[in-house]
């Protein structure tokens, strides 16, 4: 099976506009830098041919943008969804955040995306251009000139620990459907759990103190589609704009993780966009792991309409006291 490439998607996107399937297309275009690919809406075939890109740096999950985009006008929005994006897509449908009828979803198979942080670690700063042929990444930097790195060396952590390569929602599929994977994604969570209380505190104090409250994690998160975020709402009693104090750093991330608990599909966008490289996905994974241990395996977005664990209960649920102990010791 051929790996999905830019040409194939451009052709598909143009075709969907031309044959009237969709009125506009949600895809990716180049940002300021080669690696800085950003989501974009395309209204014409011309624009698609000029700007549409797809490649190993197109990690951005497009599902979230459907909420706003489907509200504009009547026509359909075509969207390209990688397997992890399809889970977010389903979760948004479960929460009735957009009208399924207004979307034409193209599932695309994915074998993992590159992480620009890893590239920078190897190639150094000052990247002028980056390109990938699917095997090797060519990097040109201001200081060191051109370098070739193996793509497999810079695959993002979230893709190494990919939970599923299966597209769970689409109108049309490009490439193979893929399989759900038995990943080791909870290993790091377990590792932190097995630390001492002081070590855990130290670890997170160190990580969270890097937070600059740029809100990128929230803004990119497909579960954070609230009409008005509590952190922006002066009436919510949780409004806060800057991490003025270590308390607020923690408060923001605890509340954010709690708000998406049971709804987070573990797409890893939060960690991808964090400019400070804080492993925010670990907070979400902790909730996912606890939910799996306490209430049975649950994958948000696997099915449309499933009942999220926090709006559900059984009479025999674990007590909070035991839960804390179990959340600490379940490191198998």
């Amino acid at each position: 099976m051929q790996k999905i490439n830019s040409t194939m998607l451009i052709e598909k996107a143009a075709q969907l506009l031309e044959n009237g399937t969709a009125d506009r297309v949600l895809g990716w275009k180049k940002g300021e830098f080669d690696y800085d690919i950003t989501p974009a809406v395309f209204n014409s075939v011309d624009q698609i041919k000029k700007e549409f890109v797809f490649g190993d740096f197109c990690g951005a999950n497009l599902s979230k943008y459907l909420v706003k985009e489907t509200r504009k006008g009547d026509g359909k929005v075509a969207v390209f969804l990688k397997p992890c994006d399809t889970y977010s897509f389903n979760q948004l449908l479960t929460e009735k955040r957009f009208d399924r009828e207004k979307v034409y979803a193209v599932g695309i198979s994915c074998e993992g995306m590159a992480d620009i942080f890893k590239v920078k670690q190897i190639a150094g700063d000052g990247i002028v251009s980056v390109s990938s042929d699917g095997e090797n990444v060519k990097v040109e930097t201001l200081y060191d000139g051109e370098k070739t790195i193996k793509l497999s060396d810079v695959i993002a952590e979230r893709c190494i620990n990919c939970k599923s390569r299966k597209c769970v929602a689409y109108d049309e599929l490009m490439g193979e459907e893929g399989e759900i994977i038995d990943s080791d994604r909870f290993d790091m969570v377990s590792k932190i759990e097995s630390m001492s209380e002081d070590e855990r505190f130290g670890f997170w104090q160190n990580e969270l103190s890097k937070c600059i409250r740029c809100n990128a994690c929230r803004n990119v998160c497909p579960a954070c589609t609230c009409e008005k975020c509590v952190f922006d709402n002066p009436d919510s009693c949780a409004q806060n704009k800057a991490p003025a104090d270590s308390f607020e750093e923690k408060m923001f991330h605890i509340i954010r993780a709690f708000h998406v608990a049971g709804r987070c599909t573990d797409c890893g966008e939060c960690s991808r966009v964090c400019p400070q490289n804080i492993p925010l996905h670990l907070l979400n994974r902790k909730f996912i792991k606890d939910i799996d241990t306490f209430y049975g395996e649950y994958q948000a977005g696997a099915q449309v309409g499933s009942r999220a664990p926090l709006v559900d209960y059984t009479e025999g649920d674990i007590e909070p006291g035991e839960a804390v102990m179990k959340g600490e010791s379940e490191n198998a």
């Binding site: 759990e193 209380e197 997170w204 709006v311 649920d317 674990i318 804390v324």
Partner: protein
Amino acid sequence: MQINGEFKPLIVAFCCNWCSYAGADLAGNNRLAYPENVKIIKVPCSCRVNPMFILRAFQRGADGVIICGCHPGDCHYTSGNYYTRRRMSLLFSMLNFLGIEKERTRVEWVSAAEGAKFAATMNEFTEAVAALGENKRLEDLRCKR
């Protein structure tokens, strides 16, 4: 809170109106003593307690937060405390994950008939929190006097 050099932890207790608040009243009726630094806030049901309230209490200087509700199965609103149980299981586990002492948070089911249990719980919880000392890991220095 330091009183005469002795550490007296400030405990915020959220009590549901139907069982635990009545249980606290019963403790009063029976003159069952517990520390003065336990302060009760009445909520209609334990499921009204937003994790935000708990963090807020810690921010403002509480050393321990306890949520009391009807026993599972006895909720006045039939299912409220079941949601509390799930929410707090996950929240407390997360706080523990972040290295915040697990002894500072607790959920306890106290019925309207369990005045003695209410007093005993408050005594025991206060003692456990006192052993930890002041809340340093979830404090907001700006709120310190």
